[in-house]
Structures are given as C-alpha cells and as structure tokens.
Symmetry: C2
Subunit: 367 residues, 2 copies
C-alpha cells in the first residue's frame, strides 16, 4: 500500500487520520500513518502549543499534521461576548427546554458562562497556525476548504504543505488555484462537514479535475482495507479517515468520560447518522440520537449560521457529555459508524486495514 | 474482469445494464454484459411479449434479463379508474398550474384520459413475470426488493435466478432468506429508488451480511472502469448500471423524442440531482430541473404514496416529454450523470469501462 504520497509525507502508509485526540494522532503516526490533530477545540493557543510539544515527544520521530477550521473569506467576528448577543432568546429557550426533556442535568459547577468553542473564529484559527508552525508538522489541513492565500504562503515558507477538504470538483479546482498542495475529497457519507456527492462519484471527479496538479485523498466511508482499495481504485493517492478513530482505546486517554459516546457508536448502524446544520450552522453528519431528533421535530427552530450555532449549543454539548447517556450523544460521525463494532487500539485498526488492503488487491488480480 | 458471476449468468463481463429500452438492453448483451429490460412501462403484457420476442432475435444468442417492480407484500389495488379517485383535487390543480408556469403545453391530441403507468401495480407486474418466463431470460430482477415467494419459486421452477435491490443490509438478509439468488446493493448516489447509505459503506456491509449465500452486485455511482474496480474491491461480484445507458445512441432508437432529455443529462453535473418522492411516492433520485424545483417550493403539496403519485404525474410526464425542453425534464438518474458528457454507442461505454478496469487493477498492483 504505497503511493507517491508516502514519500511526500514521509509515512509508511498513505493513511491520514484526523482526530481531536493527541493520543490517537500520535498512535496513528507511530503505526505508520499520518496523525492529524484537530485544533478547533483549543480556545487557547498556549494549550495547543503544549499539546503539540507532547506530540513531538510521543510520535517516535514520525511525522504528524494539524487540522484547522478557517474559511478563506474572512468572516465578521467579534469576541465571544459580542457574538452571543446575536443568538435569539427563542433558540436559547429551545435548547434549555430540550435538555430538560432529554433528562440532561445541569453541570455540577454551573457558572452561567457560556464561552463555547472559539476555534471556528478566524483569529483563533490563525493563532493555531502560528503555534503549529513552530513545531515540526508535516501538513496543515483546513476543514473548510482553502485557507487564506497568505496562510498558505506562510506554511509554504516553512516547507509545510497544505491540504483542503472539498465536496465538489469546482471547490477542489479553486483550492489548487489558491496554492493548496493536496485535496481531501470528502464524500456525502463522511462525518462532520460534508456535501451531497457520494465518494464513489466525487473521488474520480476530483481526481480528473485536479489530479495532475495535486494528489487527492479520499474521505468518507473508509474504515477497512476493502474501502481503502476502492478509494485508490477511484484514483486517490491515499485515504483520510476521521470517524473510525473515535472507537479506539487511545481516544479515551484524551477524551475522558467518552465511554457512553463510544458505546453509542459501537451500537449504531450505518443508518444511524443524519446530515444536519445543528452542530455548527453548516451541514455536518452526526450520530442520530434523541438530541438530533429533537432538532428535527416540527417545533424546533432553524439552526443559526456559523459560528453562532456552535456558540448556542456548545454549553449543551458539555452538559450532554457530562450526562454520559448513550441515547443523547452529540457527535459528528460518518456512515462508517456501522462498521465500528468494538473499541480497539489504533495500531490494530491500521494493521487490519493494511492487511485487508493487500488481500483485496490480490483478489482483484484474480478477477 | 471475470468473477463467478460471469459463469452463472453466461456473460463475458460481470456488468448488468438496467434500461427501459430494448435497443440498449440488446446492445449491452451483445457487447458482453447482461442487458436487463425494465418492464414497468408495459401496461399491456402482449406488448412486452412482442418486445421480448424482438430481444430474442437481436441479442445474437447472448443472455438477457428483465426487471419488474413488485412489492413483496401485496398492496391494495384496483383498476386505474378506482385509484385515480383517491388523488386529491388540490394535487391535480398543483400539477396543472405548474405545467402552465413551466411553459409545458398540452398534448396535441389531448383526450382527457390519464391512464398512467400501471406496471407499479402488483397484478400487472405478475403478468410481466408470466410473459417473461416464456422467453429464454437469464435473470428476473425486482426493483422493490424480494418479490413474493411464489414468484421466486415460479422463476426457479424455470431455472431463472432472481435478483433484488437492497439499500440496507437487513433488507438484503430478508431477500436471501426469501430465496433471492443475487442482491443488488443500491447506494444513495444511484438513480431511481434509492436509500440513504452510500455505496462505499453499503456494498461491503451487504457483502458481509449475505455474501456467503448470494453474490452481490454494486449499484450507484458506477460509470467507469475505476468505479467498477472500486465496486469489486468493496467485495461485489459485479456491477449494476442504470443511469449511464440513458446517454447512448441506442436509447434514442426506442425512446424517440428523448433528444432534449439527453441534452439535459449531458449538461448536468453530479450536483444536479435530487432525491425526492415526486416520481413514484417513494424516494427516488431524479435530474434536478425546473420540474423538481417546483415540487420543492413552499407551496407544493406533499407527494402522494405509491402508486398514486405516479398516476398523478404520469400524464404530466407525457406532456413534459413532448415539450422537449431540457430545463423541464422528469427523469430518474444517479449522481454519475456528472460523468455522462456525450451520447455514445453502448458498445463504446462498455468497452471503455472494461479497458479502464484493467488499467486500474494494474495501477493498484504498483501501489
């Protein structure tokens, strides 16, 4: 399972693993893939700096990358306080009422402050880039497409390539025109922010549109060697996996208290996801639970635009997390959740994928 | 590109091509695939009999199959006249008003009669099976899952295997339990009736659920050799293609007056489809045009259940077809429409697919 991407990224397998957990990211890198740490949860750049310092010590000298969330157009923004004023009271009431109905208790140390995740803000994402470039990162990926051109140039100045997610071929072309080095073709079936075109159609379309200028990684629906082989058959130079690492042992080391969430994922089928704007304001695929169902009810308000929707629900997310009820999880995950049937070490996931990839190519040779 | 399916079906390539056109079906069979003629458009069994007689003369002795539309549970039904009474006047008014707004004129020989397509009715589908079994067919496929068990037994009694479409693994298991011989795993990206799980996730899931008992064909998103190789990598024993044949020269031989429709397909991108209940009452993916947009408007009524919705719109379909306006097409097609960039002979489509399949497997061997 070697492609040109292995040499470019300095990895053994062309498998990029996106995760908010540094323990998972480091384990992916140690196992021969490229661990890509999601930065959006770090409101404080100093905290990210410390975690990347930990990564430097724990990847065994193997390469790793980071993932930021930065729109190419600089949006209006303000402090968290300014923004929260834009959230209608009726939306707040709906969230409060829904949490009561779902049996989600307040946090024990409820303070009334609701800062939320600020990593969606442009200024915070820029601070992530500044900090990350002080570490020996091998990739900066942007979950919202092309970062601003000056950020791309900043990364290139340090010799760090930039990847961007795309859900349409026209977006991929724009990314590469902007100087992006790799395109992650993210299909409909993927977890988190996702478009409407499924991987089977999207991947070859993006490869045909930009493949001669930039390698393409396939994202969405990949959790096995057969799926990785399918992605490479479609023309991808590698795969990008996010959801699958949520059901690993290492995930719990960072995200303590996620046992209930993992149980919900392990029990879910591929039908148990929903694409909705309730997580961030943009369409994202989540695990279908009583929380997502409440937002789909006739009395539910329309989700707010990014970044307001996440500010609205981030405190609810904390309460939901603390409640540890598998039926009220709020978690981005792809349709591959149906294949996540137990919690395993990262190295086992990657090892099984590579082994099955080899078996699949051998089988195709007989066909 | 050989799998066990080739021997079972007596074909050179494990490619089943579903089409309502006998000219396309015969050309697929002659080119080494299995042409599968859709029967739903035949209200009169004698007409189907004549067309299958033509197939017998024009497939060069190569095998072919038929596709029926028959729910496993026998639904309430009556004559077309009984059923049309169940259609609310408000729905009729909406259709009439919309056609005027879209500039679709009445038919020149407008009679006021609106028989519609009756092939959705159980009794009519049974007459299709009776007729088809008098011909040397090699497969009966059912677009709505398992046919009734007695129909499966009737086919087996004549030595004809039965295939059934499935959009979920649990449906596939039920089909095989009922005696179905092949499962067509139809992903979200497919045209026509389709579920929510994309091919990348669905195909291996169905293979793991029933693959030891029944070969699985992958449907949805397949129009090239890379996609066929991906399908086989995912564990499928073959592919099932429907949309792609709509942009063939042979299609026009049966479906005269489809030039405008073909132009709309050739110009469409993979984003230009929509999954909606407006065609039959069950979710089906259609080309996105001014017709589908009208049904998505806030003032549009909810589509009726099957078979009423098709009775409601079938006359409109005739008017739309006659109007020959590429912006007001009503046509089931999958996301692969983005790859349908010109009208070609069937043999070229299949030849290119087989050639690219070989190149893809060779490329994977180097990876």
């Amino acid at each position: 399972m070697r492609t040109s991407l292995c040499d470019t990224l300095g990895v053994e397998y062309p498998v990029c693993g996106f995760t908010p957990s540094e323990h998972v990211a480091a384990a992916i890198s140690r196992a021969g893939g490229l661990g890509v740490l999601g930065c959006v949860r770090f409101n404080d750049a100093a905290e990210l700096d410390a975690v990347l310092g930990w990564m430097d010590e724990n990847t065994g000298g193997k390469p790793y990358g980071v993932d930021i969330v930065m729109p190419s157009k600089i949006p209006e923004e303000g402090s968290s306080m300014d923004l929260t004023k834009l959230i209608p009271d009726s939306h707040r009431s709906f969230v409060d009422k829904t949490l009561v109905e779902l049996g989600v208790p307040p946090l024990p140390d409820e303070t009334g402050e609701r800062e939320g995740v600020l990593g969606w803000l442009h200024s915070v994402a820029r601070s992530h880039v500044e900090v990350a470039l002080k570490h020996p990162i091998r990739l900066i990926a942007n979950a919202l497409g092309s970062p601003p051109v000056d950020v791309i140039e900043q990364a290139h100045g340090r010799g760090v390539p930039v990847a961007a997610l795309a859900g349409k071929a026209e977006h991929a072309v724009r990314h590469v025109d902007n100087g992006v080095d790799f395109v992650v073709a993210q299909g409909y079936e993927a977890g988190g922010h996702t478009g409407e075109i499924a991987s089977m159609v999207l991947v070859p379309e993006i490869v045909d549109a930009v493949g001669e200028r930039a390698p393409v990684l396939a994202a969405g629906g990949i959790g096995s060697g057969r799926q990785a082989a399918a992605a490479l058959a479609l023309g991808a130079s590698g795969v990008w996996m996010g959801s699958f690492w949520l059901a690993t042992e290492e995930y719990l080391q960072t995200m303590t208290g996620s046992v209930a969430m993992q149980r919900a994922l392990v029990e879910a089928s591929s039908s148990d996801t929903v694409r909705t704007r309730i997580y961030t304001g943009k369409p994202a695929r989540l695990l279908k639970t009583r929380w997502t169902e409440a937002w789909a009810a006739p009395d539910a308000p329309e989700p707010l635009p990014m970044p307001l929707q996440n500010l609205l629900v981030s405190h609810a997310h904390n309460r939901i997390h603390a409640a540890a009820d598998p039926s009220v999880v709020s978690m981005p995950v792809g349709q591959i959740v149906g294949r996540m049937d137990r919690v395993r070490p990262v190295a086992d996931v990657l090892g099984d994928l590579v082994r099955e990839y080899g078996e699949t190519v051998a089988r195709l040779n007989g066909a």
